[in-house]
Symmetry: C2
Subunit: 440 residues, 2 copies
């Protein structure tokens, strides 16, 4: 039976800051990066890939933490690891010396997300099914054993989680059939980066409408006059009926957020995303109390550090759109508990995506949420940003503004060998070329 023999780690970075793609009120020079690992086995046909997403500097710090965590997997029997990823997760979580650096937050937590993403990719490849199918077909008792329900005892018991999953099973086949036909609705952030000109903004909004999108999201939080003008342009292009969302990327103080959103409300907004510190549960509640009166919801979670933060956002009724991040929460083990808590609170999960490979992982997560946890799609929409997909062996597909149901085995996390060779930092061929140009 195959065994995990080695861990391959790659510091992968793209010079996205050169194009202003990914520019917002806080992140002005994002170089989209992945702290990437591959769990290699002695069976050359079987392996698992995973990563966490960063925006450049610090990617190497995540890799160092990943190396410490992943080392615990070398020599493990693949079948055993794949049978109980929750056991692996707990071993990584229960290293009390590393726990001190969090707990459950920051670099060590991002590293756990990367390693567990690779373990789930391995498990799905081992079962020869797409990850969404592996999860949906697991016996609920077994699935719940894999989950991290610690510190959630006041809102979600294991028994309750099992019952919630059981309740949805009769609907699985119909939902899978529906998803194979229509996919899962997504929205695009591509037109709305802060660094884009008004003309480019208008053009990209028009293109998004042509591609069938029902939602457009714009970055805000710079000069108020710019926000006002850019939203006016977007609304005039997409018309009165399509959904418009705004994203402040944490730039505002709580009172400032209330004031700034109030001033933009007349454009007709579905949500304000990340109005202030991602840690500020009570602040989000105060903002929600104000903006909801204008029919605007509060969206947050892309920087939601762990399940305890999401628990509180839901307990405090501080969030309307739950934006889990596939590389910040510690993979399936921590994500499904959040899906279950959101379902219990009747709040839609609208995952954060974009970056490097987040859309690939999200194309599985939205299917899991719809099929096995939350049911009806109404009101749900997942982010999609159309860049860097060409670097993935099994890229996500979007058609008519919807994520297509993945069909290939795994978690879609594998990056092409030529990409790793070209964009590995600092010695990938493309990075070397760039330095030669600069020094020329």
């Amino acid at each position: 039976m195959p065994v995990i023999t080695t861990i391959e780690l790659v510091d992968l970075r793209f010079p996205t800051s050169e194009s202003n793609a990914g520019s917002d009120a806080v992140n002005k020079d994002a170089d989209y990066s992945a702290a990437y690992l591959r769990l290699a086995t002695d069976d050359s046909t079987l392996y698992g890939c995973g990563f966490t997403f960063t925006i450049g500097r610090g990617n190497e710090i995540c890799l160092q933490a990943m190396e410490v965590l992943a080392a615990k997997l070398v020599g493990r029997d693949v079948a055993q690891v794949c049978r109980a990823p929750g056991t692996v997760y707990r071993e990584l979580a229960e290293d009390s010396q590393l726990r001190w650096l969090g707990p459950d937050k920051g670099v060590v937590h991002l590293a756990r997300a990367a390693v567990m993403n690779a373990v789930w990719d391995l498990a799905a490849r081992h079962a020869e099914v797409p990850l969404w199918r592996l999860i949906c077909e697991m016996d609920p008792e077994v699935l719940v054993e894999q989950l991290d329900l610690s510190y959630l005892g006041d809102v979600l018991s294991a028994g309750e989680a099992v019952a919630m999953l059981e309740e949805q099973r009769p609907f699985h086949q119909a939902r899978i059939a529906e998803l194979s036909e229509q996919g899962f609705p997504c929205y695009t952030t591509s037109p709305g980066w802060l660094g884009y000109s008004d003309d480019k903004l208008a053009r990209l909004c028009r293109e998004a409408m042509d591609e069938g999108y029902q939602h457009i999201k714009l970055k805000v939080g710079g000069d108020p006059a710019d926000d006002e003008r850019r939203l006016g342009i977007a609304r005039s292009v997409i018309g009165p009926d399509k959904m418009l969302m705004i994203d402040a990327n944490q730039i505002w103080e709580v009172p400032e957020a209330i004031e700034r959103v109030e001033a933009l409300a007349h454009h007709g907004l579905l949500w304000i995303e990340e109005p202030t510190s991602p840690d500020d549960v009570l602040g989000h509640r105060r903002i929600a109390d104000s903006v909801r009166q204008r029919g605007i919801g509060v969206a947050t979670g892309e920087h939601g550090m762990n399940r305890v933060l999401f628990k509180q956002l839901l307990q405090a009724d501080a969030v309307d759109f739950v934006q889990i991040d596939s590389c910040r929460l510690a993979s399936i083990n921590e994500i499904i508990p959040v899906l279950l808590m959101a379902k219990k609170s009747g709040k839609p999960v609208c995952p954060h995506a974009g970056g490097v490979g987040l859309c690939e992982l999200v194309s599985h997560l939205v299917m899991i949420d719809h099929i096995a946890v939350s049911g009806p799609v109404a009101g749900r929409v997942a982010e999609f940003v159309d860049h860097l997909h060409e670097h993935f062996v099994d890229p996500c597909h979007v058609s008519q503004g919807a994520y297509v149901l993945p069909t290939r085995p795994g978690y879609a996390a594998e990056i092409k060998a030529e990409t790793l060779a070209a964009w590995a930092w600092p010695d990938g061929t493309e990075w070397v070329k760039r330095r030669q140009v600069m020094t020329a």
Copy 2:
């Protein structure tokens, strides 16, 4: 004028797990460690030392992040850095690529704490006064410019912070005189580690009373029968009038915490410390609502990740004793805002200490809080654990259960050269010896 020329980094670890010192419900094998740095200048008489505290594995990850942050200081004019440590703090905080790994939490935040601790040590050495005096004698306007008030706009404005500091100035001299005489009261955790035998617990409690302590803290959260027995022993030794506190180190779920503390309340407890996840503001509020009925307060903060968490703990009235950590909050720049918010909420700040060097830093912080921010000492007590002080050039002093007012220039953060040579991981002379013994 002197310039910062080099950054010296040391991975310092002590084998404290061998003695069970530091053993609690979650941290069973703590090897007390410091990710330590020294800012060297071209003026050989001037330097600054700082560190963050960890419990072993992962110390090297903090050092890697410290190296990235501290590199920004090389070549800087010392006078300029010392005139405006807040400018340096903001430069470290505003690296948007590194910010993605938090923001303001985990490894990168611990690293910022270490670097800023060294900057403040340098500033106090440059001014040739103890840090507490440098801070207390700063013009309030200037001091507030050094503080990180971001995301606190809904509770504390800069103007309000200045006014609060101004209000205390007439009392500075009297308070300094009082502290020089009596010091600042502390309690000891030394008797209460979970790994100690009943006899050792009883003996250490007796010794603590002989040394003049008015408070004893015990670790709890293991077998309920053990907690009951050990608290009985401690109470019988210290008598009915001395204060007894318990510390669960985050081991419980919220409902479990309420039940377990209820069962121990008859021993007469001042506080329950870290009953559950340090991130769970609303959970702490629920626990407080219950235990306060038995006269027990909630203490938390040693894992309080940043000022936004403390803001919410205070807003939600979820904490009775605010336990800031000198190496987890990002040094003076983030700590004083928490002192000011606690003062505004009328909650005493009782800093966490112990580990490596936390007591040394706390011996300055409690003086700053008392002299310049909070005033009356009544109800305040700081932690003291009597180990590893011999490794410091300017160790803190405790007399009759009180921290003595520091008199030497700096932040007391400098570690002896011989200690660095002996306990640097993995190649310090003492670690090499240990490996030789093990392999012999």
